[in-house]
């Protein structure tokens, strides 16, 4: 459950204030699929960045699974960026394992999950390649891999 209550975001410059998001409220329930649509510069990314905890709202509040988001990334939240968010110095296997390594999971569990996720992402047999050796589509699927490293088994 995601709840946004009267959230605003203002960026200040030396000469003026820019309201990226002004007084927006919305609620997204479990299993619900929501698209946020609007012209370039209307604040879609800012809203998503606030929900993800990358930026704190200037006013209002945001809750994810009941917990208030205030510049802290909520647990269990997955976020796909416009750019390829893969680490170029890590292989496909190391990229998929990244979140599991961060969370200190045992090596056996990491191997098992990485193998399954590579298959799921259609990257089986490419585990030892570096991102620049993959096609654009494969890199996008690789970026998804780490996000499912926990939730897929939940």
């Amino acid at each position: 459950m995601i709840e946004v209550e009267a959230a605003s975001k203002v960026y200040g410059t030396a000469t003026r204030e820019i309201w990226a998001v002004r007084d927006i409220s919305l609620s997204v329930g479990g299993g619900e699929f929501v698209s946020i649509v609007g012209p370039s510069g209307c604040g879609k990314s800012t809203l998503l960045n606030m929900i993800a905890g990358f930026e704190a709202p200037t006013a209002g509040q945001i809750r994810v699974a009941g917990a208030r988001v205030a510049g802290q990334i909520p647990n269990g939240l997955g976020y796909i960026f416009q750019k390829d968010t893969v680490l170029p110095w890590y292989t496909v296997r190391q990229n998929i394992a990244l979140g599991l390594r961060y969370r200190g999971r045992p090596a056996g569990e990491i191997d098992e999950k990485v193998g399954a996720l590579a298959t799921l992402a259609g990257l089986e047999g490419f585990e030892e390649l570096y991102p620049h050796e993959l096609s654009g589509g494969m890199r996008r699927r690789l970026a998804l891999g780490p996000l499912f490293s926990d939730s897929w088994w939940a």
Partner: protein
């Protein structure tokens, strides 16, 4: 080695701490603006005629080259990449190790061939100014005795050392940056 290690560490630290970087910026600019050669007599006076003054001079030559490249590299890291790693549960220390260090390493390596040349220049000049051993000392004494054979030999040996060091750096680069497209 000391110049590279400290240049990399300080460059990485300041690239992550903008406030500290702003505070130290005037001092870094001032130190970097000092002609390196002008400091050699002072360094020799402080650290003596032994190895110490050569190491400090070489450090001074190398440090800023590596520092500025690493600093730029640290600033160039894409914010999305750091945010992505944060969503995966990465702590600041883990993100430094897995994202910032490898990215800055690629930038630092581009400074290393020049750093080798500068380090050799520093050591030779330091030996010109005050030393009883070394290639610089041999060249100065060769000049005094008009011994062109020893002088040419010193130049050839210094060139060979430079080529050997750059070759070692290239090998280390190929190994550490094997993920980069140019090394595949």
């Amino acid at each position: 080695m000391v110049g590279v290690a400290t240049g990399f560490a300080v460059g990485l630290l300041l690239s992550q701490n903008r406030r500290l970087a702003r505070i130290l910026n005037p001092y870094v600019i001032a130190l970097n603006s000092v002609p390196r050669i002008a400091l050699v007599p002072l360094i020799t006076m402080i650290f003596g005629l032994g190895v110490g003054s050569k190491v400090v001079t070489a450090w001074f030559m190398v440090f800023f080259l590596v520092f500025f490249n690493t600093f730029k590299g640290g600033l160039s890291i894409e914010r999305e990449l750091v945010d992505f790693c944060r969503t995966l549960g990465g702590t600041p220390r883990q993100i430094t190790r897995t994202v910032r260090v490898p990215n800055a390493l690629a930038w630092a390596f581009t400074a290393l061939p020049n750093a080798v040349s500068f380090a050799l220049i520093g050591v030779v000049i330091s030996e010109f100014v005050g030393s009883t051993t070394g290639m610089g000392y041999l060249m100065i004494t060769s000049l005094a005795t008009l011994n062109s054979t020893d002088m040419f030999a010193s130049v050839v040996v210094l060139s060979a050392v430079g080529v050997a060091l750059v070759t070692l750096i290239r090998r280390a680069e190929r190994r550490l940056l094997r993920w980069a497209p140019e090394f595949r």
